[in-house]
Symmetry: C2
Subunit: 336 residues, 2 copies
């Protein structure tokens, strides 16, 4: 047994590397500050399909195909795929994977799915059960809006604390042979529920989980925020990002400028997304389009990627339940 | 790296053992032929709660608590939990795990979830990243009916090929120290779609996946059906079970009496469940209540547990999509 575990953190002493990665995004995401980073930007959010759901599938296929072609691989070279999305029964990912045809393990971690897929993909790779594993997560604004909230045609008002579900997919191929970016460790998140019932305020519901997972990781690893060039949460956006800073400030810890949030990086202020971006695809695309390339070129020394998720459904919200949050953390190291 | 992989099959040469297991079921399941096997049988399907969704959560908590108490453990002794259910956003499992408090990895494999959780739990254990992992899956007839089909009050007619979603949960604690039942290998399923659109005929939609995964496993392991005391699929019920037998017969392979299906074991003919049982909880509870105890006492030498799942949603059915199937296989060995 090669695995090493301290507390809730799994260390990958047998190296796990990033073979390639790619991101496919919608029109609005392509118009944002990271627009030039993405491998595919849709001209319109239907991706040439007849329904929003088919559009999301097409986007997943595009992200996976770009990741495969960057590594000069075909789907048959993959030992397995791990992934998920926000639609009921995770149908976007299942239907996309049906077309690609590799062994498939479906995940549900809400917006933390990209981190969860990397965590389990790394376990399979470091343990010797996979040589090439595809890890992916996606969300689509239009399919998510009509499922979680209102049909777009209804034109529902959004409060200022609301976030914008990203139309985006990120796909990473992990491998067991040396490459430029290494996956070093991962912390499995626990569920925390600060008692928030407002499903238009997800950032606040997930902030405690991000804080707890980061705190657990620093304790398990014996490291501190200043040991990392960048700490990024998945989709806490303006309110959740501020709350994480405040929670650490109470402990006398300053995260400072190294702490960023994918939901704040993906859109510009002029894009009217209110508190910021959200959705599985938000952290997945920012990781694959923006952060992993910076690690690969040596611009970032290392990174804590904290996938945040709100484990609620419209039904639990309607039944008056509070919103449980979760956060899985991945430690990535760049080229030396 | 200790992991050994042949084709799509992962071999666990570092042993993974079953520390304990438990099943909690509804009233109807308690009245079936396996009723006496289960650790908890509800007097009524609300489990003392106000909603069907809260009832499902309570059932999961009961199964997990029974598995923990049989092993004389508290939740804090668990390194992680892996599980899922059929409700949108897998809220039954998430909300139950919120109360238990261990690190949590959410899965979505439709009715194959019990096998998927055992597969990933075994990878974490054999790789040395977990000493005690909880694997669980559940379904509840009433919460599933109103989400997937009609409210119960509507009294919708069911065709003879329809299956009955089991009100059941199974929970297994895997460990890295010798016990009576060992998890020896697992095959990661691929998605197969035979083109069926009738969501009241799930067994037919999943049968090909079960056949393909079994065939892959026999090829990867160099074994044959007669090497196993029992081969059991998760919830193919009468139609799917017949189809798997027919598919193997075309290859000149006779599965014979060793091939059973959890959906046919769970209910008696007089219980009016039409083709048989289904749901994540069907295979999970039959495994934990009936099959694992028979392996532990030496009555069964070994077992191929094939978790079958239909990766559709009401939305994909309404959009005219066909039903993709998947099947993950687990190899279990009993006390010698």
């Amino acid at each position: 047994m090669t695995g090493r575990r301290v507390g809730d953190t799994l260390f990958f002493d047998e190296p796990v590397w990033v073979e390639s990665c790619a991101a496919a995004v919608g029109k609005k995401e392509g118009e944002g500050p990271l627009g030039a980073c993405f491998d595919y930007v849709a001209k319109e959010n239907r991706f040439g399909e007849k329904t929003w759901e088919k559009a999301e599938r097409r986007m997943i296929e595009l992200a996976c195909q770009h990741a495969l072609s960057k590594a000069d691989l075909t789907p048959s070279a993959l030992d397995c795929a791990l992934g998920g999305d926000l639609l009921n029964q995770c149908v976007s990912t299942s239907f996309a994977m049906r077309g690609l045809g590799m062994p498939y393990l479906g995940l549900y971690g809400a917006c933390s799915t990209m981190a969860e897929s990397l965590l389990l993909g790394a376990v399979l790779t470091a343990g010797g059960w996979s040589r090439k594993a595809l890890c992916a997560a996606s969300s689509h604004f239009c399919s998510a809006e009509r499922q979680y909230r209102y049909p777009l045609e209804y034109g529902g008002q959004r409060p200022p604390c609301a976030q914008w579900t990203a139309t985006a997919c990120g796909a990473v191929i992990l491998c067991d042979a040396p490459r430029r970016v290494r996956l070093r460790a991962a912390t499995v998140g626990r569920i925390f529920d600060p008692g928030i019932t407002d499903s238009a305020n997800m950032g606040a519901a997930m902030a405690q989980s991000a804080y707890e997972t980061l705190r657990t990781f620093f304790r398990d690893s014996g490291t501190a925020p200043e040991d990392y060039a960048c700490i990024v949460t998945g989709d806490l956006a303006a309110i959740g990002h501020t709350m994480v800073n405040e929670l650490f400030a109470r402990d006398g810890v300053t995260l400072g400028g190294r702490y960023q949030d994918c939901g704040l990086l993906l859109y510009g202020k002029e894009q009217d997304v209110h508190a910021g971006g959200s959705g599985c695809g938000c952290s997945a695309a920012v990781l694959c389009g923006h952060l992993l390339p910076r690690l690969a070129c040596g611009e970032l020394k290392n990174l804590l990627f904290c996938g945040t998720g709100a484990l609620m459904s419209p039904l639990t919200a309607n039944q008056g339940e509070t919103i449980p949050g979760i956060c899985h953390l991945i430690v990535l190291e760049g080229a030396k």
